[in-house]
């Protein structure tokens, strides 16, 4: 807020003749907590342990219904490209969970 005030003041002083003076002030924010709401289902723990450190559960829960093979490919992409430290043995449980959650059809945020 302080930075905004300074810039607006500078713009007014600058008028039309010359470019306004620009001042930068340190900025910081606190982002909201991520409650990690995941509906119950087989493999839920595997998802919590392997997926939600990098992103909120909504990344997975909001996806359109896709096949088991597509979920396997998505988890594979997280490991191969985004270097997610996923326990290889947990992959079937993660995929089971996503297929289960999508099969239940809950329109959960």
């Amino acid at each position: 807020m302080r930075a905004a005030t300074i810039l607006v003041a500078a713009l007014m002083l600058g008028g039309c003749e010359r470019a306004p003076e620009v001042t930068f002030t340190d900025a910081s924010i606190t982002l909201p907590d991520d409650p990690l709401d995941l509906p119950p289902g087989p493999g839920r723990q595997a998802v919590l342990e392997n997926c939600t450190a990098c992103h909120s559960p909504s990344t997975m829960l909001q996806q359109p219904k896709v096949s088991r093979a597509k979920w396997e490919s998505i988890v594979g992409k997280m490991i191969a490209i985004y270097k997610a430290p996923v326990d290889k043995q947990a992959v079937p449980a993660i995929v089971d969970y996503m297929v289960h959650v999508q099969a239940t059809g809950a329109d959960s945020p």
Binding site: A4, A27, T30, P35, D37, E49, T59, Q62, P64, S108
Partner: protein, 398 residues
Amino acid sequence: MSEGRLTRRALMASAGGAVLAAPVLAQKLVDLGLPGGPSLRPIEPAFPGKGEMIVQRIRPPLLETPMAVFREGVITPNDRHFVRWNWDMPTAVNAAAHRVAVGGAVRTPVSLTLDDIVAAGEQIEVVAINQCAGNGRGLSEPRVTGTQWGNGAMSCARWTGVRLKDVLARAGLAPGAKRVRFAGLDVPLTDGAPQFIKSIPLDIALRDDVLVAWGMNGEPLPLLHGFPLRIVVPGWFSTYWVKMLSTVEVLTGEDDSYYVADSYRFPARTITPEDKDFPTVPITAMPPRAFITSHADGAVVTKGQPLTLEGIAMGGDAALSSVDLIGEGWQVGCTLGPDEGPYAFRRWSATIPAVTSDLANIGARAANTKGAVQPEVLHWNPSGYARNVIERITLRAQ
């Protein structure tokens, strides 16, 4: 592993702790109308400096602008501007310590302070739409995976900064310069993952309206929008508008980095959902789009009365030339509102003299001065990029 990055042990500990603390909240939800769902999204939690936003993801933040905001004007207020981060964003920036390294194929690599950037050239203002390449992805049919945006991953602001070419001139281009690549302070959480870096061809980088911007609607860029500096490429999708700019790198060849060579790409020709192997090109310039903002799908209008419809439109990478309101077998030319420049939203309105029956599948169709016109049929692609099919609604006459 470097400090702050993820180990399996830290990852499990953080996940377990957060689960125990998870509150159960009754939330107001917004229905984005995504075919087949899931379609409901919360408007909580609140984010610092933001008003009511559709929360697509808390971490890293993905916040969608509610369509109602576009009824209010062509400039999107900063607190309603959509937010998109690929990797975790830094939550604090020390202005005095911030530097922008300009290197690669340059005569003299330089490290610039924020004051150096401001002093690099003439201050420029551009009104330009910032739109995610995946805006409207959730409306694709057949559906595709990725962030399931409605049509609110777009906003329009007045950006203030200096020309990128003036910043490049501080270092001087070396012979053979072909592209200019940008990196910000956001880095991957995991070792070995691709950093979110993006590049544009030199001829685009040298345009008079491509900026290194610090101002957004007369205020400093909020952190969520890339404080202290972001790239602005009017007419191009926001994937190139790198936030928290810290590195400008001049390349002498093609860019083989992940987010240019492998991601954010679009089929080079029309494809069907069954097609597997097809050539792709980077997703770059925006096509025209238009939206009805005065009425929602299914709204009731009065039979026998005149009806005025309103909305917003954009030309994309060229000025808007016309907007038509179209129905099933009819069309009406629209009146355009004030012109804030070729890359801004522009309001439109059209009046139907008397409503005689339901207005089925009506939509606004924009065209730009390069001759691009919104298509009747979606250019389907597996990443849901560059949606610009005519958006249609049905109004009920009573």
